[in-house]
């Protein structure tokens, strides 16, 4: 029940607090009333969907940052591994 699904906004109906989202190729109508704040939403934005409601906008920059942090970690260990191999 608590697992959310990421979906991309395809069409927004502000007056109805509704939107059509694309979730892995399937289109579904969801309520976006919880996201109609000052920041707003736009077609193309990614949102997290939970029991028929868009709960949060997914921040693409933050999403990228956490992956970059993990990739950097991988390169640190990659370097260490390379040094270890060379030392043999």
């Amino acid at each position: 029940m608590c697992v959310g699904m990421p979906g991309q906004l395809v069409e927004i109906f502000v007056d109805e607090h509704a939107a059509i989202v694309d979730v892995a190729g399937v289109r579904r109508r969801v309520n976006v009333g919880l996201l109609l704040d000052d920041e707003g939403i736009a077609v193309g934005d990614w949102v997290l969907i939970h029991v028929g409601f868009a709960m949060a906008k997914i921040d693409e920059a933050e999403a990228r940052d956490s992956l970059v942090a993990i990739e950097e970690l991988a390169s640190v260990y990659g370097d260490e591994l390379a040094e270890l191999m060379e030392s043999d």
């Binding site: 608590c2 697992v3 996201l35 029991v51 409601f53 709960m55 949060a56 993990i70 970690l73 991988a74």
Partner: protein
């Protein structure tokens, strides 16, 4: 799928496991993942078996299906069995056992019980069936409470007078406090619930660090999210910090979702106390409808037995929910209690620790044993 697949990358996972192993050294660490969604990910992806043996994960009380006591299920069945009522529920709740059967069995006996994906679906049924009374079984933490609240606000605005909610919403902070006060358990930190935090933000957890001196890292639901959160907890501990950090910043904002919090405040108020399976009565830990929504409150409208029912003696869900024992340490796990015929709630929901372990963990554990690796 975007925002899913990239967080399952095995190269990233290996790097994080190396970092966790290096940070943990030879010390033993015990972290609790509060949320059932995390428990599901941990078992599904075999995370316990890639971690070093001295980094232990303990499963917490954050599965809203698992914490509903038997008496409340009996109450739901009583409402569902009222003539003229269409009783709607998330699928997870359908097989949760009460003292005399579950909702599916009540349906087999003739009650009109229907599965819905969203409370808005329940409201639509009410609009389409004006001569019936439609009750929605509202369960869940702050993640689902706003959706129930918005649905009730809409029902009131549209004058849908045959729609009611049987409210069992619970709040996340009181059980975390109860766990911290519990003498049974020594924890080194928490993996904080990701989706609850999209609503409540990270600020409500400050007491965990400030009052109890434990770090908490709010995390997402993919394997790399969980591993990164564990690495962040260990980094804090190794650098002498104790903070509330956010691994899931792509979704969780520190202030949460103010609109969702407002919707909760508009529709609900705190109950003086509420019974949790395994944790007993916890004060101010659940929500009920405010007086101005009395017309939509199933508890005021129907004859609710409200009888407290003790769990079956063999069932150790309480200890599993508090993280005192692992699912497979329960006496009836996988024998008398299975997902097909559950005795306890933890075996019902896919987010329950026992069901997740039964469905995924056994295989990983068997494989680990076969490979001569750690088996717990």
């Amino acid at each position: 799928m975007r925002f899913v697949d990239e967080y399952r990358d095995p190269t990233g996972a290996r790097s994080l496991v190396r970092e966790i192993t290096a940070l943990a050294k030879d010390d033993h660490f015990k972290f609790m993942e509060v949320c059932g969604g995390h428990t599901h990910t941990i078992y599904r992806h075999g995370i316990e078996h890639v971690l070093p043996a001295n980094v232990e994960l303990v499963h917490g009380p954050g599965c809203p299906v698992c914490v509903i006591p038997m008496g409340r299920v009996d109450d739901a069945i009583a409402v569902a069995s009222t003539p003229g009522v269409i009783f709607t529920s998330f699928g997870d709740m359908m097989r949760v056992p009460g003292s005399s059967g579950n909702l599916l069995e009540a349906k087999a006996r003739g009650a009109d019980v229907r599965f819905v994906y969203s409370p808005l679906d329940a409201l639509r049924i009410a609009v389409e069936s004006p001569h019936r009374e439609v009750v929605f079984f509202a369960v869940g933490f702050e993640t689902t409470a706003p959706s129930t609240a918005l649905t009730l606000l809409r029902a009131r605005a549209e004058g849908v007078n045959n729609f009611r909610a049987f409210c069992n919403h619970v709040t996340i902070v009181p059980p975390i406090r109860a766990i911290l006060e519990s003498p049974d358990l020594r924890l080194d930190g928490f993996i904080g619930p990701g989706h609850v935090s999209t609503v409540v933000g990270n600020r409500p957890y400050r007491f965990v660090a400030e009052r109890y001196g434990k770090p908490l890292v709010t995390a997402g639901f993919e394997p790399l999210d969980i591993l990164q959160a564990i690495a962040m907890l260990l980094r804090q501990i190794r650098s002498g910090r104790c903070e509330i950090e956010n691994q899931y910043a792509r979704v969780v904002r520190d202030e949460g979702n103010p609109r969702a919090l407002q919707a909760i405040a508009d529709v609900f108020e705190l109950r003086p106390h509420f019974e949790w399976r395994g944790l007993g009565f916890i004060s101010q830990s659940a929500l009920k409808l405010r007086a101005d929504f009395a017309a939509f409150d199933a508890e005021l409208h129907y004859d609710i037995p409200g009888v407290r029912v003790a769990d079956p003696k063999a069932c150790q869900c309480g200890e599993v929910l508090k993280g005192v024992i692992k699912p497979w340490e329960c006496k009836v796990f996988g024998t008398a209690c299975t997902p097909e015929t559950p005795i306890g709630t933890c075996m019902v929901s896919s987010e329950g620790a026992c069901a997740a372990y039964y469905n995924f963990g056994r295989l990983h554990r068997d494989a680990a044993v076969a490979l001569g690796r750690r088996a717990t």
